[in-house]
């Protein structure tokens, strides 16, 4: 069943002298439970696509429908609330709140949901376990390695069990072992928690782990293959 339907998405940036057509008519449907990689060279429009799906940015034309909701028609406040309840975000870097410990970063999202303390603790324990670093619970991001930080970011994104997770080049700053490790964890969580994952990458080894690969080039879908 489709949870994201994208129709003829257009995005042009006018901030520089020459308008940049970052997306030129993207049509895409994402089904529940997918583990999909968006690949393409730098500048092909991956970040733009993910940001528009998550409502961080608005398209010039076209639609993004998530479970009957057209996200770009929501107000700014509604978008934030929508993200809180339905979407998990993972960025390339700077994912975590530096003044909070690993555990507090996870529980912060749960607190935004108004989940009581005891339940927050149960869920954060479960997720710290799932990403394999329960011993780092009380450590702040600065003292974690890049790979560990991204694992906490994955745990945080999953905390409130969103419908899907958007990850923009989550492994770009990681060495290959950590990248591999992170992908394995994401894959397990995709199966265990039945959370849909959409991640962009231009790393061939990461691409191999995906069950569906959508290739972007110059803001258009060039190929779309499922394993």
């Amino acid at each position: 069943m489709a949870i994201i339907t994208i129709k003829d998405l257009q995005k042009t940036y006018n901030s520089s002298q020459v308008p940049v057509h970052a997306l030129n008519g993207v049509d895409l449907t994402i089904d529940e439970g997918e583990f999909t990689a968006i690949v393409g060279p730098s500048g092909s429009g991956k970040t733009t696509l993910l940001n528009i799906i998550g409502g961080l940015d608005d398209p010039n034309d076209g639609q993004v429908i998530i479970n009957d909701t057209e996200i770009n028609h929501l107000s700014r406040a509604e978008k934030i609330d929508f993200r809180l309840h339905h979407i998990g975000f993972i960025f390339q870097a700077y994912n975590l709140i530096p003044v909070l410990t690993a555990r507090e970063n996870i529980e912060f999202i749960l607190e935004l949901h108004g989940i009581p303390k005891s339940k927050r603790r149960l869920r954060s324990n479960e997720l710290l376990e799932a990403v394999g670093i329960p011993e780092k619970a009380d450590i702040r991001p600065r003292q974690l390695s890049g790979g560990q930080q991204q694992r906490i970011a994955v745990a945080r994104a999953l905390a409130s069990s969103p419908r899907f997770i958007l990850a923009d080049e989550p492994t770009a700053n990681l060495d290959s072992a950590s990248a591999d490790n992170l992908l394995t964890i994401m894959e397990e969580l995709n199966k265990k928690e039945k959370t849909t994952f959409i991640f962009s990458t231009h790393d061939a080894r990461v691409v191999k782990k995906a069950r569906r690969v959508v290739t972007l080039e110059d803001g258009k879908i060039k190929s779309d293959s499922k394993k």
Binding site: L56, G88, F91, L100, E107, F108, E111, L112
Partner: protein, 403 residues
């Protein structure tokens, strides 16, 4: 958790935060210190004024106060009625005349108070301010007790003779020679330069004021604060009498407290306004540095209102820390100094001239301190609004984009 985040955020740039905290501490310390200092000083002046000069209230014949006519006398026996009032602790009668005091050298315009020396002691404490000689010793000679400043001006000493000239009840010029029994010094030099006290009976005789009559009854109440509402009661029970509470007897004393409070608030507001610019600047920097982080927070679903509150909390906590440290340091200093006092004798000549004691005992006032604390928090909130609003305007997609 918002509180936790805000508090920890403050310590991300400890040096920057400490600078703001130190500035606030210094500012609030100055505010508290100067205000308690002023407060103590003014209260002291007030007490002195009431206890040695005016009493809690004075009763005159109608119109006496503005005309000062010798003939406007209170009838005999009024003092018994006044003393009978339950709130009155003690009272004494006075005859008051304007005149001249002359020594062999020179002369000065003065006010002569004809007092009952023993009664006077129960109402005012001027007798305790006698530095040389004594407070009327021999009832067999005409004696005067004069201020130190006047003694200096007339170049006379204890036991010297002083000539007092004034008009009697019929307007005829009269006078007499008095022996200086004592010389007093209050904290109000102006008072000391213009007052001569003699026995009421001596003055009554010279002015031919019938015995028992007086110009003023000086009253000491159980409680100074009652003066305002006891006064009208006397006006009702006594015929043709004005009862004037201390605040009106010496209006400048009444203004003094208000003035010192106003001064303090202006002072604190100026300090806080100056600091507010520093705070706004610091918080803008903090927001700017965290553009990406704030974008991330919006991306993961933190509502704008919470982000706004976070920045406000951060600012308020920063200000409160500095404010509390400053208020604490100020109160501690005040507490240490409240018994020893601060000796201003180096500048004291000028100060006593204005009626101030050279040693000041700072006194703090809870309402004042609470108001200052409130003002610190309020300025924290005001200073945070612009930076917090700036944070809200961030566009999450721009903020999180890796360049």
């Amino acid at each position: 958790m918002l509180l936790k985040i805000a508090w920890r955020n403050i310590w991300r740039s400890p040096v920057r935060s400490w600078i703001i905290i130190a500035a606030l501490t210094a500012g609030m310390f100055a505010g508290i210190f100067s205000s308690t200092f002023m407060n103590g000083w003014m209260k002291q002046r007030l007490r002195d004024g009431v206890e040695t000069e005016t009493g809690h209230l004075q009763i005159f014949r109608n119109n006496y106060q503005n005309s000062r006519k010798l003939s406007l006398l209170l009838p005999p026996g009024e003092i018994t009625k006044v003393s009978a009032h339950p709130m009155v602790q003690s009272a004494t009668e006075r005859i008051i005349v304007q005149g001249m005091a002359a020594s062999a050298e020179t002369a000065r315009g003065i006010r002569i108070l004809g007092v009952e020396p023993e009664m006077e002691k129960n109402v005012l404490n001027l007798h305790e301010k006698v530095r040389e000689g004594s407070w009327f010793d021999s009832p067999y000679s005409k004696e005067a007790v004069i201020g130190e400043k006047l003694a200096r001006q007339l170049k006379i000493d204890v036991r010297s003779r002083i000539i007092l000239r004034f008009q009697d009840l019929d307007g005829t010029l009269t006078g007499g020679a008095f022996r200086v029994a004592g010389i007093f010094r209050t904290s109000n030099t102006a008072f000391d330069g213009t007052h001569v006290l003699v026995r009421r009976s001596d003055l009554a005789e010279l002015t031919s004021i019938p015995s028992g009559k007086s110009h003023a009854i000086v009253v000491k109440l159980q409680n100074a604060e009652d003066a305002m509402h006891v006064a009208p009661q006397f006006e009702e029970t006594l015929e043709d009498a004005d009862a004037v509470p201390w605040k009106e007897l010496s209006p400048e004393l009444g203004y003094i407290t208000e003035l010192s409070n106003t001064y303090m608030y202006i002072f604190v507001v100026i300090i806080l306004m100056a600091l507010a610019f520093g705070i706004v600047n610091t918080m803008l920097m903090a927001v700017l540095e965290r553009t990406r982080e704030i974008g991330m927070l919006m991306s993961v679903g933190m509502a704008r209102s919470r982000i706004f509150i976070m920045i406000v909390l951060e600012t308020v906590m920063l200000c409160t820390t500095g404010g509390l440290l400053g208020i604490g340091a100020g109160l501690f200093t005040v507490w240490r100094l409240s018994s020893t006092g601060i000796d201003l004798s180096i500048w004291a000549t000028g100060l006593t001239e204005m009626g101030f004691d050279p040693i000041v005992y700072p006194e703090w006032d809870a309402v004042l301190v609470l108001n200052i604390a409130g003002m610190v928090i309020l300025s924290g909130i005001l200073a945070s609004l612009y930076p917090a609003w700036k944070a809200l305007k961030l566009n999450p997609s721009e903020a999180v984009r890796v360049i």
